[in-house]
């Protein structure tokens, strides 16, 4: 197997979906930030909003980016459904993104390792609990921020959908949900995703996987030993 140097982790469709996701995410975060903290006291709203073409243009960018992101999300879900239904993708314990009890054990094991209480790192499959957290956080955000965002972008349409008994609190609720969850998403990406995919010792300034979709065989063996075993057998792993 030594002639294979690289291993395809994400196909072209996933890579395109990821690019659309992070471009729209950045646009949404940048334009939305000035609306969340518009106080001119901070001396930042002024030039920041002008950089995005003023409040009107920034609002338009925000709406277009938001709808694009939701469509991207929809595409992703439909694509996954297609892969599963045609049998191109199978749900297996060591390659799935679905959270399993093992992830909790991995987290505990990792904590023990961090504190020096254990000398063994947990063995991850295709997706570690770190990746799973990163991935499902987006789902959570899409649901909460996406739906509340739609209601805020098209409030008169949303008013027809909202039930009569909800109208005394739903408007406050969607505004709170949208802005607080957006802040949570920004904080999350800034720390979790940036550390794990950009700042880490062996990844700085970034992992190239988002362009090539590939990781080296070494990396696969090292970071995703269970997936390696699944694909190429245990032999090499045991030899050591």
């Amino acid at each position: 197997m030594s002639e294979i140097k690289e291993y395809l982790r994400f196909n072209i469709v996933f890579r395109i979906q990821h690019v659309i996701l992070f471009v729209t995410f950045l646009l949404l975060a940048f334009t939305g930030w000035s609306l969340k903290y518009p106080e001119p006291v901070l001396e930042h709203a002024g030039w920041w909003i002008r950089m995005w073409g003023g409040p009107k243009t920034a609002g338009l960018i925000h709406r277009i980016a938001g709808v694009t992101m939701l469509l991207d999300f929809l595409w992703h879900v439909l694509y996954l459904a297609y892969l599963l239904l045609t049998g191109r993708m199978k749900i297996r314990a060591n390659t799935t993104i679905i959270p399993l009890p093992k992830d909790v054990l991995d987290l505990i094991q990792n904590m023990l390792y961090f504190f020096g209480l254990s000398r063994t790192k947990p063995k991850f499959g295709r997706f570690s609990y770190i990746h799973k957290f990163d991935y499902w956080a987006v789902f959570w955000g899409m649901g909460i921020i996406g739906l509340s965002g739609l209601a805020l972008a098209f409030p008169t349409k949303a008013a027809y959908v909202f039930p009569e008994w909800s109208v005394n609190w739903i408007w406050e609720l969607v505004a709170i949900l949208h802005s607080d969850e957006a802040l949570l998403a920004i904080v999350f990406i800034l720390f979790w995703h940036f550390y794990n995919e950009h700042l880490k010792w062996d990844k700085f300034p970034m992992s190239m996987t988002w362009i090539t979709g590939k990781i080296s065989m070494e990396q696969l063996k090292h970071e995703h030993p269970l997936e390696y075993e699944l694909e190429f057998g245990k032999a090499e792993g045991e030899k050591k």
């Binding site: 009107k56 008169t156 109208v167 609190w169």
Partner: protein, 308 residues
């Protein structure tokens, strides 16, 4: 030889002409632009100073002082010629609770701006002065500033222009004692500034409504008065000016009420989200720091030795 003569005639006639039409104002200002002090009377404090330059730039810069200052109650001045019209005196008596120093001059706004004046008298602000005889109902100068320096409502200096009017309303409506006295909502301006309308307004969005766009201005009514544009009876129509297709369920969106326990769902949702955000933040930052330290430890102290 003839040219200097002609020039002298022209200059003299210009001076004569202007000084004739501004004769009275000119005389008043010769003292009042120089006096810098304020005068304490038993009715209140009178600012004696008139900034001549600002006065001449104002929309009233061209009219004579005695157009409004028709009489002087106790004074060092000679009374202007002619009696004060009965209509003005009646009006002055009506608003005397507000205008303690010179009700006649305040009533004089009515002489030129009678239509606006009568809608002001019918407003909640006006009725507070006329019916309830209160001192703190807003009248012309409370929003527009001193009549001596009034500029066009769209001008930069005007306190009622789009970018300053929220502050101007806030002069009274941000005060707790006013809210308490008249049983009005508290934190109204604050809640507006936190709303999407207010935030967009702060950012300079030209379409973002200010107080007056929804509540009206000269003929402003209390919000639960059926005549008010924000009453439940008229709110659909008012919101519909910008939000085409607004319906009854839509118009509950803006309340300017602080989110309290009386509205438990958003109240506890907000509290819950704060807890969620903080705990996710703590977990994420803690995990990242621990992992970073352990990586450094591995590289530096364990020399990159692979775990078995």
């Amino acid at each position: 030889m003839r040219k200097p003569f002609l020039l002298t005639v022209v200059v003299c006639s210009i001076i004569l002409f202007t000084s004739l039409s501004y004769a009275e104002t000119f005389v008043c200002l010769s003292c009042h632009s120089a006096i810098k002090g304020k005068l304490k009377t038993d009715k209140g404090i009178v600012d004696l100073h008139i900034d001549e330059e600002r006065f001449s730039r104002s929309v009233h810069g061209g009219i004579e002082c005695t157009i409004c200052h028709k009489s002087f109650r106790e004074n060092p001045h000679e009374q202007p010629k002619g009696d004060v019209p009965r209509k003005t005196i009646e009006m002055a008596n009506l608003i005397s609770s507000k205008a303690t120093i010179d009700p006649v001059a305040m009533a004089a706004c009515n002489d030129c701006h009678s239509e606006i004046f009568s809608s002001l008298l019918n407003s909640i602000h006006g009725k507070n002065i006329i019916d309830k005889k209160q001192k703190d109902g807003a009248f012309c100068i409370d929003c527009h500033g001193s009549p001596h320096y009034i500029t066009n409502a769209s001008s930069k200096e005007s306190p009622v222009n789009k970018w300053r009017v929220v502050n101007t309303c806030g002069n009274c409506h941000e005060k707790e004692e006013i809210s308490k006295k008249y049983n009005l909502g508290t934190h109204i301006i604050e809640k507006y500034n936190e709303s999407f309308h207010g935030k967009k307004h702060i950012l300079g969005h030209p379409g973002a409504p200010t107080c007056v766009d929804c509540h009206g201005y000269h003929d402003i009514k209390k919000w639960d008065d059926p005549m008010s544009p924000v009453s439940w009876e008229r709110r659909v129509e008012t919101c519909g000016k910008c939000h085409k297709g607004a319906n009854k369920k839509f118009v509950t969106a803006i309340t300017h009420k602080p989110i309290g326990r009386d509205n438990p769902i958003p109240y506890y949702a907000e509290k819950g989200l704060i807890v969620l955000t903080l705990s996710v933040f703590a977990f994420v930052v803690g995990h990242v720091l621990l992992e970073a330290f352990s990586e450094i430890r591995d590289r530096v102290f364990r020399k990159g030795k692979e775990d078995e």
